[in-house]
Symmetry: C2
Subunit: 240 residues, 2 copies
């Protein structure tokens, strides 16, 4: 059985300020937990309703009602683990980097993390206003991919200003991605869901790129940021 | 002020059986409503908290509390309109068709509708087990694109069996989309979020295609169905 203090601590991790202070976050469900256990992330504890689910010392078997108390899912999924948030590392600039300018939706960030994992992009840099990648909805949507990607929160303007390779920013009006020469080293910059790329970053974009639209009458509506990232990453990886 | 019967009827449209019986569905928010007003969809009524929002006869001005009662959104967005579900039409086979095999998530269907709109695909065919496109979450996620796309629910197996052009099915192991010859007329078949394409449809797929993965160690995890659709549509439209 979980103590009141344990429940309070674990539930508290739904808030960013507590995650930041304690340097801890939660992962739910067997599959996701195993992906983090197989990564460099340090596991602090595992709570499971099924003693057979994991063969590790630190598993605490808890009741279904206790799991419901600590879970952030509508339908808790047998297990919840607490992992340490890793120390901030230096951005590896040897390949393609994805930069996110104030992405707010946890589902979008999770999907983009999963895409980067698929396309072999190991580095994501995020503005400080981008949703926290250790938010449980992001962890859930990233389907374990978060355990393999390095995510850095930083002052995006300062970073882009000091970056010396091409910065490809996605716009509704730009050069077609099929007519753009992409380089092995570069940044793919994706903007906020409603406002796109901030004006303060626009001057730092070296290549304005666009995904061609195939309709006679151009509608103003843009693509969802995660699907736009998917198309750009696929094309960059195909062409370089 | 709305009568109890009106509230009951509108709220009832959150259920598929009522939508099917009454041939009606709801659209929320000014922007989405206007896109449907500008389409061939027939508007039955509009309820708005702001009399200035629409300049049309059939607008009923209601209170914010009434809007909260009939809205399916957590944060109601000023207006709700009721539109008629159009009569089933014949599938236009003159171009590319997207086929969905039991897509369950409303957000995924909405995103795929938006993608089809972007890429000029006017026809989507769905298995009967695919989530209803007039589900309010689908309407919301499609951002008005639903008003421009023809969606057909049918027996997918029968349809594919009688179809004479190529059927491109997405698999984890298939021919790279970059090595596939796509034709102007054809079907792009996308499978269920968890199980992929049904076994019963596999024999009907003429081309098994795959999105190349760019990592050294192949992870078993697949891409999200909406992002996979995005990448396939972009590549098909680029290459044909």
């Amino acid at each position: 059985m979980l103590s009141k203090n344990q429940i309070k601590l674990i539930k508290g991790l739904s808030l960013k300020k507590n995650r930041t202070q304690l340097k801890l976050f939660t992962v739910e469900g067997r599959k996701g937990i195993i992906e983090f256990l197989n990564s460099d992330f340090k596991c602090r504890s595992i709570y499971s309703t099924d003693p057979e689910l994991f063969k590790r010392e630190q598993v605490s078997v808890i009741s279904e009602s206790d799991l419901r108390r600590i879970s952030q899912l509508k339908t808790p999924n047998k297990a919840l683990a607490i992992f340490e948030i890793p120390k901030e590392t230096i951005v590896d600039e040897s390949g393609l980097i994805v930069a996110l300018d104030d992405i707010k939706d946890p589902g979008n960030l999770g999907t983009i993390i999963r895409l980067c994992d698929w396309f072999g992009v190991t580095e994501i840099i995020c503005s400080h206003q981008t949703v926290d990648c250790y938010n449980s909805k992001v962890v859930q949507a990233s389907m374990g991919s978060l355990s393999r990607i390095n995510i850095h929160y930083l002052n995006l303007e300062d970073y882009l200003r000091s970056y010396s390779n091409p910065i490809y920013g996605t716009y509704l009006k730009g050069v077609s991605i099929y007519q753009t020469h992409f380089t092995m080293q570069g940044i793919l910059l994706m903007g906020n869901e409603s406002n796109g790329i901030s004006q303060s970053l626009e001057a730092l974009v070296t290549n304005k790129i666009t995904i061609p639209q195939y309709v006679k009458v151009i509608e103003t509506e843009s693509l969802n940021v995660a699907t736009a990232t998917a198309i750009c990453l696929a094309e960059i990886k195909r062409s370089i």
